[in-house]
Amino acid sequence: MFDKLGERLKNIARNLSGKGRLSASQVKESMRDIRRALLEADVNLNVAQDFVSEVENEAVARKIYDSFTPAETIIQIVGEKLIGLIGKAEPLVLDKQPSSILLVGLQGSGKTTTAIKLGIFLKSKGKNPFLIPADVKRPAAFEQLRDMAERENLPYFSERLDNEVKLCKQALSRSVLKRYDTLIFDTAGRLHIDIEMLKQIKQIKETVNPSEILLVADSMTGQDAVNIAQEFENALGITGIILTKMDGDARGGAALSMRKVTGKPIKFIGIGEKVDALEVLHPERLASRILGMGDLKTLQEKAEKAVEKEEVEKFQKKIQEGKLDLEDFLGQIKQLKRIGPLDALLDMFPGGKGLKKMMDEKQMVRTEAIIQSMTPKERQNPSILDSSRRKRIASGSGTSVQDINRLLKEFKMAQKLLKQMKGRGGPAALSSFFR
C-alpha cells in the first residue's frame, strides 16, 4: 500500500521527539521519504528531485540542525513549497466578445463532461455560454454532448460537419448572431505526439482565436504527464490546466509536474460525474491531497509548533540558569499534555520516577488549575505564598491547601533535581523531554 507522506512526516516527528537535534543522516532519510512519497503520488521524477533538494536547502537555511523542532520545520517547508509550486487559483480570462475556450487533451481525459460542467459554471456566473461539439472523430461524441447539454438546458451547436475546422468557424459566426458571450469548444481527444491531429487543433486555434486553451488532464496520469503537458504547450501554448477525476483516490501528483513544466495555472478540478462537480483550485487542498494528508490543518498545526521553538529555547536558558518558576512549569504542563501518554516517557527520563507522581495526568489538571489561580507575581516567586494566599488559591482552583502545599513541595524537588543535573548534560535531556 501507499505510504502517505503525511504519515511518514508524522513518523519522522514521532521518531525525533525526545532525541533533540537532527543528524545529517536523519535529514537525508527524511528527504528520501519525501521523494518517495512524491513519486508514489505520480509526481514526475525530475520534479520530485528538484523539489526535495529545494526543501533540503531551505531546511539547512533555516538551521534545521540547530532546531529543537526539526520535524515540524521540515513539514512546514514541504507544505510551503508544495503550495508555492501548485500556485494560486487564477480565474478564467474572458476578454473577447465573444470569448472562446478551447478544451484539449488526450482521449478519455474528460473533455466532454468538463465542457458541460464549465457551461453550468459560467451560466451560474451570469454568462451566456454556447457549447460546440468539435469532436467529429469519436463515435457518438456529438450525441454525448447533445444529450447532456439538453438535459442541463445549455445551448449547443447542433450542425453536423465532417470537418472540425469548418465546424468551429460556423459555430463562431452563429454565436455572434445569437449573442452568446462565451464559447466552449469540446475538441477531439488526441495524443500529444499525433502530428496530424496537432496540426488540426492549431488550425482550430487560428480560426477561433481563443481566450483560453485549457488542457484537460486525468488526475491519475503517471510520469508521462510532463510529456503530455509539454507537447500541448509547445504546439498550442495552453493557458491553464483542468484536473479531472479527483473524486477517486488518485493523489494527483501529475498536476504538479504539468504545472512545473508549463508554468501554467491549474484552473479547475473535476470532482465527480455530477454536472456541478467542478471546483476552482484550492492550493492547500491539492497540497494535502498530494501529501496524502486529510487536510492541511495538521500541517499548519505542525508549523505553529515550530513557532514555539523560541519558547523552548527560552525555557532551556532558564533551566541552565536555575531560574525555573511556576510560570514555566505551567507552560510545560500544557505542552506535555499534547505529547500524550506520559508514563513511558517519564520512565526513560533520569529522575523521572520522582516527577511521575507530579506528572500524573489527573494530577496535572489540578496542578494547572492551581497555577492558573495564582497571580503572575506569585508564579514567578512562589516564596511569597503565605497561608492567606494559599487559601485564596485553593478556593479559586477548587482544590485544598494541602494540594497546594504538595505542589509547592514537588516544585522545590524539581528545582533541586534540575540543579543536580546541571553540568551532567541533564538540562539538555530535560529540555528535549519537555519539548
Binding site: 488526450l106 482521449q107 478519455g108 454525448q144 477517486g248 483516490d249
Partner: protein, 288 residues
C-alpha cells in the same frame, strides 16, 4: 499498425536510454536504471526489486537478465479456453480508459475470425455510450443489446445472454459504465451484474477484463486491486500505448495480483488491439 512500430516512441525513450546505461558496463548505472524505471511508471517498489535482480548479475548480463525477469513476471499462465458458447466477456474499468473502444476493436477481431458477436451496452449512465457502442456494432455488423438511460445494467446483461442463446452467438461483449473504484455504490452495481450473469449460467462471464489506461500512474494498482477484490478479474487490457507512456505500472499489477495482460491497445483503428504476449512485448520494448 504493428507492435514494433507503435512502440517506437517508447523504445526511443526507454530502450535507447537503457542501452546507453547498460553499455557502460558499470554497476553504478543501476541508480540511473532505477530512475528510468520510475520514469516509466514501474513504481518505486518494483523498480527497487528489479534493480535487486540485476545486482545479482554482472553488468554484461544486465539486459538479458532484465528481459528474462520481465518476461518471467508478465508470463502468467492462463487457464484452459474450452469455454461453452456463448462466451461472455465483461469489460470494466474507471472512466475514460477506453472500454467501449476496446470492445469495438475486440469485436472487430472476432468478426474477422468469422465469429458471431453480440455487443451489450451495460453503460446506462454516460450519455452517448449506447450510441458509441451502436456505431461499433454497425462497423462490425453486430447486434447491440441496449436499454434506456438510467436502466438497470444487470437487466441489459440478462437480456443479452438470452438473445445470445437464441441467436446462437459465439461471443457476447459487455460494455459497462466507467466507475471509480472508490465508489461503493457503483462497485456494488457491478457485483450485481456479475451475479445476474452467474445466475444465468454458472460459468458466465468466462472473462472479466479490466481495462487500464496505459498513461495511468501508480493509481492503476489500486484500481486493479479494488476491481479484482470486488468481482475477480481474469485479464487486463492495457490501452493507449501508442503515445509516449510506458505503462510500467502493469508490471507491478501483474506481479502483485497475478492477473495476466490479455490485450494491448496501440491505436484508434479497428485493428489496433492485439493479444498480449510477454515475450513479444518485452522484446519490442527492449530491442534496438
Amino acid at each position: 499498425m504493428n507492435l514494433r512500430k507503435t512502440l517506437q516512441k517508447t523504445r526511443d525513450n526507454f530502450s535507447k536510454k537503457l542501452r546507453n546505461l547498460f553499455g557502460k558496463r558499470d554497476p553504478k548505472a543501476l541508480v540511473d536504471f532505477e530512475n528510468l524505471l520510475i520514469e516509466s511508471d514501474f513504481g518505486v517498489d518494483t523498480a527497487v526489486s528489479l534493480v535487486g535482480t540485476l545486482e545479482k548479475t554482472t553488468p554484461e548480463n544486465y539486459l538479458s537478465s532484465l528481459k528474462k525477469e520481465l518476461i518471467n513476471i508478465l508470463n502468467v499462465s492462463v487457464g484452459g479456453n474450452d469455454y461453452t458458447k456463448p462466451i461472455v466477456e465483461l469489460y470494466v474499468g474507471v472512466n475514460g480508459v477506453g472500454k467501449t473502444t476496446t470492445i469495438g476493436k475486440r469485436g472487430w477481431t472476432l468478426h474477422g475470425e468469422g465469429k458471431k458477436v453480440l455487443l451489450a451496452s451495460g453503460d446506462t449512465f454516460r450519455t452517448g455510450a449506447v450510441e458509441q457502442l451502436s456505431k461499433w456494432g454497425e462497423r462490425i455488423n453486430s447486434d447491440v443489446v441496449q436499454s434506456g438511460y438510467g436502466a438497470d445494467p444487470a437487466a441489459v446483461c440478462f437480456d443479452a445472454v438470452d438473445a445470445a442463446v437464441a441467436r446462437e452467438i459465439d461471443y457476447v461483449l459487455i460494455d459497462t459504465a466507467g466507475r471509480l473504484h472508490t465508489r461503493n455504490d457503483l462497485m456494488e452495481e457491478m457485483k450485481k451484474i456479475k451475479k445476474v450473469l452467474k445466475r444465468k449460467r454458472e460459468d458466465l462471464p468466462q472473462e472479466t477484463i479490466l481495462v487500464v489506461d496505459g498513461t495511468t500512474g501508480q493509481n492503476a494498482l489500486q484500481q486493479a486491486k479494488q476491481f479484482n477484490e470486488a468481482i475477480g478479474i481474469t485479464g487486463i487490457a492495457l490501452t493507449k500505448l501508442d503515445g509516449t507512456a510506458k505503462g510500467g505500472i502493469v508490471v507491478s499489477i501483474v506481479n502483485d495480483i497475478g492477473i495476466p495482460v490479455k490485450y494491448i491497445g496501440i491505436g484508434e483503428e479497428k485493428g489496433d488491439l492485439i493479444p498480449f504476449s510477454a515475450e513479444d512485448f518485452v522484446t519490442a520494448i527492449l530491442e534496438e
